[in-house]
């Protein structure tokens, strides 16, 4: 009986180890640089300019970039907008920020090969 329990524990341990050692999909190595206009940001229209580059510094073209602005306080609806590619690897989008305060913009990026990644931009002190 004890031997059976030990065997069971061993199997569970091996399964746990195997699960822990599973390779997870590595997110693509993309660098995001951004610029927010105007500075300091104000309530109303805010332009977010983004530049995507890969690990070699080559501009990343053909990606779909969605902007999602959230307030730091719960209970508010997010504002969403797609950023369009205006130059190779450069994207630009506008968000309508309805309230002053701290905003957090999530940048949802879908690369041309279908890989997805997300970055976060803090837009603090919107007046």
């Amino acid at each position: 009986m004890i031997a059976r329990k030990q065997s069971l524990l061993f199997v569970l341990f091996v399964m746990l180890l195997a699960f822990a050692c599973q390779k997870t999909a590595k997110p693509p190595d993309i660098t995001l640089q951004y610029e927010i206009v105007p500075q300091p940001p104000r309530v109303g229209t805010v332009i977010i300019n983004l530049k995507l580059t890969d690990r070699n510094g080559t501009p990343v073209s053909g990606a779909r970039v969605d902007l999602e602005g959230n307030m730091s306080h719960a209970g508010m609806s997010p504002v969403n907008r797609e950023a369009k590619e205006i130059e190779t690897g450069k994207y630009s989008g506008t968000l309508q920020l309805p309230m002053a305060g701290d905003w957090i913009v999530l940048v949802h990026i879908t690369l041309s090969d279908g890989q997805k990644l997300q970055r976060q931009i803090e837009v603090s002190g919107v007046r």
């Binding site: 959230n70 730091s72 306080h73 508010m76």
Partner: protein, 470 residues
């Protein structure tokens, strides 16, 4: 009207396990909030811990207090965990005599308000989850060491908030017929009932907060636990309708509470309730940042804590001291009473206005973000792989700001009206011939605070965590 005698609700509330029935869903919800706070998204609007705590719980709490009574203490999940733990170990100590007052709660409330602003608790699911978890732990530790409901009566800041706010509630747990109590010898409502064979076994608890029903006045310290309802062998305790705030106009000996005008701790708690409401609302509007930046420059400080400290001292100490000292000085020209006794007595008259401000502030978040829990729930379910709730409907928010703002002003105006009525009744009792002379200084204080609240809530909101240089 007696809620316990209404057909469906009354029957449910009279059921022996009614409290547990209300506590279980809140306990499950609390566990869900803690788990999501720690392991869910780090963005406050996408997390159950922050959304349910700071938008829905607070709003629902004040609205239920306004239309009914202290039913959140009735459904308190912290007490459910405590009761479960007490099956295994029974506390033997009494809460220290010198701490049997509201000073711990006053300190914790100030600390809570300060920490809330300093660490921007509303914007952090992780800290919110930690706060909820710590609350469970604190209730468990205090009530594992000390007998009765020591945590509820002397420690819990939420409980104290509810006690004060419930003085404005239209319902009160009270005796139906005092003549029945006169002939009662067992006093089960406070002593409880024990097994006649094994006297150590409690069959039914009496009031754990030391409120003896025949001499209980008002809702202060009453958690609506309904133990007294269950314990009374004569079925003589009900949840009765009453005039809101009427308990603030009487100054009689109250069981388990004492006389209001002799309770400096309770009066301080009341003042904190009132001025804290202004402070909490002030921190959410644009002018606060201008004031804080100006203060930081003036004091040559770059850290948030000391600037916030100065603001707290001004709003919670200097402002009340100046306003109330003037009111006391003017009142003493008509009544020959000590300044302290006047201060303590009339502090309670400001509670309705304080409640109005809390109500306006919390109901704003609640009503403008009413439906936001739906997409957050959908999103949380989707994270677990449960797609049956569908794609999160992030567009769902709540009522329009313009509609809610009208309600906000209405709540504050009602609060002012309540404060004016209470102070007039107190003035009538103190100076029956010329009550206006006593009433006017306190009406002046209430009106100044009312104007401040209206001004505050007319300001553009600014939900910020970064205070200096953000």
């Amino acid at each position: 009207m007696d809620l316990l005698r209404t057909p469906l609700v009354g029957r449910l509330l009279r059921w022996r396990h009614a409290r547990t029935l209300f506590q279980i869903p809140l306990l499950l919800l609390s566990v869900l909030m803690i788990l999501h706070g720690f392991f869910g998204p780090s963005l406050a609007p996408k997390n159950l811990a922050t959304t349910l705590s700071w938008v829905h719980f607070r709003g629902a709490l004040v609205l239920v207090l306004l239309v009914a009574g202290n039913f959140f203490c009735l459904a308190c999940p912290f007490v459910l965990v405590r009761d479960f733990a007490r099956r295994f170990f029974r506390p033997v100590r009494n809460f220290p005599r010198y701490l049997r007052n509201k000073w711990i709660s006053v300190s914790l409330l100030i600390a809570g308000l300060f920490v809330y602003e300093l660490f921007d608790l509303w914007s952090s699911p992780w800290w919110t989850a930690l706060l909820i978890g710590s609350y469970f732990l604190a209730a468990l530790i205090v009530d594992s060491v000390f007998k009765h409901a020591s945590f509820c009566k002397f420690v819990c800041p939420i409980g104290q908030f509810n006690f004060l706010a419930s003085t404005i509630s239209p319902l009160e747990v009270k005796v139906r017929d005092h003549a029945v109590c006169t002939s009662c010898h067992t006093k089960d409502c406070i002593k409880g009932r024990r097994d006649p064979v094994s006297p150590l076994v409690v069959i039914q608890r009496g009031c754990e907060l030391a409120l003896f029903q025949p001499r209980k006045v008002g809702n202060i310290d009453c958690t609506f636990c309904l133990d007294c309802v269950q314990a009374c062998p004569h079925d003589n305790v009900g949840i009765l309708a009453r005039v809101p705030a009427s308990e603030l106009t009487t100054d009689v000996m109250r069981s388990g509470v004492g006389i209001f005008s002799r309770r400096k701790d309770l009066a301080t708690l009341s003042l904190l309730f009132v001025f804290g409401a202004l402070l909490n609302a002030f921190a959410m509007v644009s002018p606060v940042y201008a004031v804080e930046s100006w203060l930081a420059k003036l004091l040559n400080i770059t850290h948030e804590a000391p600037v916030l400290g100065v603001l707290f001292v001004f709003v919670l100490v200097i402002e009340p001291v100046v306003l109330l000292a003037i009111a006391v000085w003017l009142t003493r020209r008509s009544i020959d009473k000590s300044p302290m006794s006047l201060l303590v007595r009339y502090s309670y008259s400001l509670v309705p206005l304080g409640f109005g401000i809390w109500l306006a502030h919390y109901s704003f978040h609640f009503l403008t973000g009413l439906y936001t829990f739906i997409p957050v729930m959908q999103s949380a379910a989707a994270e677990l792989g449960w797609q049956f709730f569908g794609t999160p409907l992030w567009r769902l928010t709540g009522l329009p700001v313009s509609t809610v703002q009208a309600l906000e002003f209405g709540f504050i105006f009602l609060g002012l009206l309540g404060s004016l009525l209470v102070s007039f009744r107190l003035a009538e009792a103190d100076a029956p011939i010329r009550p206006m002379r006593v009433f006017l200084p306190w009406a002046g204080v209430a009106t100044i605070l009312f104007a401040a609240a209206i001004w505050l809530l007319s300001q553009p909101m600014e939900m910020r965590g970064t205070m200096l240089g953000g």
